[in-house]
Amino acid sequence: MMIALTTLSVFGAALVAPLFFRNKNKLASWLIALLPLGITIYFASLLPRAAAENPETFSFNWAREFGANFSFRADSLSLLFAMLISGVGTLVVIYAGGYLGKNPNIGRFYAWLFIFMGAMLGVALSDNLLLLFIFWELTSLSSYVLIGFEHEKESARAAALQALLVTGGGGLAMLAGIILLGQISGTLEISALLSNTSTSLSAGGTAVQSHPLFIPALILILLGAFTKSAQFPFHFWLPNAMAAPTPVSAYLHSATMVKAGVYLLARLHPILGGNDIWLYTVSGVGLITMLVGSYLSFSQTDLKRLLAYSTLGALGTMTMLIGLGTPLALKAAVVLLFAHALYKGALFLVAGAIDHETGTRDVTQLGGLFRALPITGTAAGISALSMAGLPPLFGFIAKEVVYETGLEFNPWLMAAIIFMGLSTVFVAGVVGMGPFFGKLTESPKKPHEAPLSMWLGPILLTALSLLAGFFPSGISNLIVSPAVSSVAGEAVKVKLALWHGVNTAFLLSIATVIAGILLFSIRNSLRGVLQKIEWKWGPAYFYTLSLDGMNALARAQTRFLQSGTLRNYILIIILCVTLGGGYSLFRIGGFDILPQHISDVKFYEAAIAALILGAAIAAVTSSSRLGAIAALGAAGIGVALIFLQFGAPDLAITQFAIEALTVILFVLAFYHLPKFTQLSSPRARIRDAVIALFTGALMTMLVLAAVGVHISDSISTFFVENSLPLAHGRNIVNVILVDFRGMDTMGEITVLGIAGIGVYALLKFRRKKGRE
């Protein structure tokens, strides 16, 4: 129960946050940060239970019809992730109070930040795939609004939209994947999937994985995870998302949201993993992302973009490790996830502080800030060391495990990992050391130490990096070990130690650091070389291309279909009738259905028929309006004569009367309308005539068929028999109109009444002057 309430309470906080900040209370952000802090402590208290494989759960039957239950489960993997979210969240909430203190829209900002936090917690804690998906989409949505927080800027709007489209699109694919998975396995509850013998590999079941729809489901789900975690080729949205205010970048784009994809992979590894497609796709995509991110980070000069690309590298590494799937690799993934959140979160916040205090984020314009920002500088320096993978920081442990994993596989993989390591060291130097040491450079603003709210976060995160470095075994027993077991789907005992002795991994690691420092020292010339290489054909290019293409296609098709020419609309509809009717008639060979009982033709009947046809032709060919109207009237009179001839006197009278009235109306109205003119080209006329004749022919055939095919007798006998005794009338048609089918007549006179109102309104309505 509590566990569901934690998530809900964060959404609740979103509702009240704007009220909190209404009167610019400086303490508001501290006060409201108590909520995520409390939640973090609560999660910490659940750790022992989770480690003992007795996780806290909650389930509420919600959307049963869809298999979506409101069920939560806090095992170690979930808690690790949830604590990152609420813990980093606490710091970010405080930090944002300082960073955005003067922004008039800060209340709104917090509302969306809390929605995001709640959604993230939901993703981490959901035990139901659909519920997870719902929270997943909410994170995309709230991150859209957060990225676009400074929405007066065009770039912020575009970046927000890009992030939404990429992650939202992946999310939709994932939705299809989830539904397929649910249909294959019969449940959407993750815990049930994990424990069920037919679905979980570790439980020995292969039924799900051998299902023909498994591979599509797998790939669709992977698409969701890859887009969210900015894996190649969807990585381009992440650097652009740096348009967001820094607290957002720190929170969403390094510590939490981008890791949701990694989390999902880890979560579903026991169900979806263990096959070649998983192995090659996940580790392959991860590897490429790692390389691309690492490579691109060398050339950046913007603090946040630097961090973003190096985050890409890290996300790629985690993905690759989960793809590899050995216990060691999984251990490395979990440890890296943890360590990365600590040091990267700290560095992002530092970057924000630098930006806030100096007015620039360009590393070439920054230097010697340590004197002015000693606390921030300390945090930056130590976190940079953790990132670079130096002992005794937690980052060192993480890097060692990753290296060990690389060695476990093959030299090529190891080489790639070393490349990533190089870039990590490089970025750590550029971000964490560069701005603070060396010569003080001019900056747009005169730098001061950041306020408490803005250095508290970096310091605490840095302290955690240190603490975790010194006491790895505690962390390993409490979180890492059980979390890795969750990912592996079986109990894995993991040991973490700061010191492994001198082994290959350690030596390679030292070599990487030294090489990295060398690269750092030649950073300016390195950048100069790399920036010359342009990547025009990157995925971002294709994104723009497809967006533009889609827009162009949309305009072209709309201009073509919705051309504005009524004739074309009519033509298309008529073609539909002719093709639809004609084809379905052709399918059954119905062209030769002919009436069986046909009455003979009397001479004067033929004459009436000729009259109608002649009138129709005259109406079409007449070059004067009055002629056409007269012809129309003649056709109507012909129809009336047919009615009279075949036993329908009421119809005939009405037709006569209406025809007369219609002709009068036409004449009265045409008095005010222009004369006939020949507007269409002869070609159009011939085309139209052909189409019209075809349609006419179809109608002829349908009439013949209808007369020929008799399915059952008419219900009219009833009317004939009951008209006099029950309805007290001798004129059966009239009785039908006023009694048997009185509803029709009621509707009919209503139509007439409306027409009356309408004609009156159209003719009498005067538009006010000056409005047209």
Binding site: S563, G564, R567, I570, I574, I598, S599, D600, V601, E605, A609, I612, I617, A619, R625, L632, A635, G636, I642, F646, G647, P649, D650, L651, T654, Q655, I658, L665, F666, A669, L673, L679, D688, I691, G696, M699, T700, V703, L704, A706, V707, S714, S716, F719, V720, L724, R730, N731, I732, V733, R741, D744, E748, V751, L752, I754, A755, V759, L762, E772
Partner: protein, 124 residues
């Protein structure tokens, strides 16, 4: 006679459709009126024809003698005729009003509401 009338109906439809495909609003209206003639005749014919035998019980009779014309389609057509009269009257008023505000009856010149990218104010 059904066959003959089937062709008459086809002819009326063809004429109506041809007129509807013209560019002139006035011709369009005539086309619509022709279509409604066609539809009425179609219902009448499809429900089978009988000569004589009004569906009216004579004052001196208690029941209708066979053969008689099916009264139901007649009632339907009556309703349809009346409705189409209302519609025609409205359509005439509409075209009058349109002509007053656009000063043309050329349908090809009535495209402003379908042009996607124009910045002209179209709505009232």
């Amino acid at each position: 006679m059904e066959i003959v009338l089937a062709f008459v109906i086809g002819g009326l439809y063809a004429a109506g459709i041809y007129m509807m495909l013209r560019r002139s609003l006035v011709k369009l209206l005539i086309g619509l009126a022709l279509l409604s003639h066609a539809a009425n005749l179609l219902i009448f014919t499809a429900a089978r024809l009988t000569r004589a035998g009004f569906p009216i019980i004579g004052m001196d009779q208690q029941a209708l003698e066979l053969p008689y014309a099916d009264p139901l389609p007649q009632a339907l057509i009556l309703t349809a005729i009346v409705i189409s009269f209302g519609v025609t009257a409205f359509a005439l008023a509409l075209s009058y009003r349109t002509y007053k505000s656009i000063h043309t009856d050329d349908l090809d010149k009535m495209k402003t509401t379908d042009e996607a990218d124009d910045s002209k104010e179209t709505s009232a």
